[in-house]
Symmetry: C2
Subunit: 223 residues, 2 copies
């Protein structure tokens, strides 16, 4: 089975070290929530985030929302021919189960993700939709055991998305970065067997996902 991991994704709850910052407490009061249960979001917590390590790569749940929606809207996912995971920058892994319809409304998506970080899973009608595990990227690879780990990055070998899809075949794991700028973390990079770049200029994560899954779909349908 084909798998996709959105890696080093800028999705996490507000870190303990900044829960008392005014830009965070103000947002918590507005939402009537405990600060540590809210998603870290640069749109609201910019001032507080200046203190964080790797701040430029964190707090972009909007970007992860687009990337995940792109993946789960594809015929491959809908037909259970694709498994989808999010690996976060703080080394958690979200397992998206089959037939999950993620909300397009950001407000609802935020609610689902906050529930996931709090309860470690989201169920509906007794069916598991998503799970959160405290495992690293290498641990995730160890569980999936793909034949090949294919990374998409501007640092990779120039290749068309068609070429990458042909190389990937059926049992690969595709890795796309879930951060606004920069490159994969060393722990992620080390696991990648082939690194490809499918465009001259850098592309948004959701565009890379749309293109590579579309080309994989064409390859898998011909079989």
């Amino acid at each position: 089975l084909l798998s996709l991991v959105i890696a080093d994704a800028a999705l996490e709850t507000v870190p303990r070290s900044i829960v008392k910052h005014p830009s965070v407490t103000r947002d918590a009061a507005r939402k009537d929530m405990h600060a540590e249960h809210m998603l870290l979001d640069r749109s609201y917590h910019h001032a507080a985030m200046l203190k964080l390590k790797d701040a430029s790569r964190r707090g972009r749940p909007d970007l992860v929302h687009f990337a995940l929606l792109e993946a789960t809207s594809t015929p491959l996912y809908v037909k259970n021919m694709l498994r989808v995971y999010v690996h976060t920058i703080t080394d958690s892994v979200i397992i998206i189960h089959e037939n999950v319809r993620l909300p397009k409304s950001y407000f609802r998506f935020e609610g689902v993700m906050e529930e996931l970080f709090k309860s470690k899973n989201v169920q509906f009608d007794g069916k598991m939709l998503m799970e959160l595990k405290g495992i690293s990227f290498p641990d995730l690879i160890g569980r999936i055991k793909p034949e090949l780990v294919v990374g998409l990055s501007r640092l990779g070998v120039k290749s068309s998305a068609e070429e990458v899809a042909r190389i990937a075949g059926n049992d690969s794991l595709l890795v796309v970065g879930g951060f606004p700028r920069g490159h994969f973390s060393p722990a992620v990079s080390r696991e990648i067997d082939h690194m490809h770049s499918i465009n001259e200029q850098s592309l948004e994560a959701h565009v890379v996902i749309a293109r590579i899954l579309y080309e994989c779909e064409k390859v898998l349908e011909k079989k």
Copy 2:
């Protein structure tokens, strides 16, 4: 030049007939805004929308956000080889100018759109980013004067996205629906020269946009 219109899009401000409904006034109080300046949003105004005509096709700014971001994140748009428009269900047209970077954060997108509906344009540093015109779909076609109007709809002739891109060529206008279900309005349908369906099952608007623009890019780059 290639053009894309997101047509009959579920994007509008709260209609006058429901500004006094409790689900609307509550939301207006929370946002500290005049109700008629807010975007109509099913996530918040569901109860009020039951009274509206065509309610099932309205109030989905999240869906239009995804579709627009998909279009403006493509290399074709970034290289000024694609013009992007939104035609709304209430017969307004949004002209997206060149080099506009739409916010991925829904909260910011909502703010920009509310500003657009209020002021009829959005500028930055003296540069026009977006305009809102009170014109119909046929009027828009009359202004763009495309060689061919190509609609994407499940009711169309079964064709691959590659085939549609080859037919479309350089001076066509592509039309994708910006509504959650159903088909183009009669006024839009009448203007479409060729109607194509690029998938057996229905696809989200943003997926159709990603695929057709990617295939058009391949055709245009070969020239």
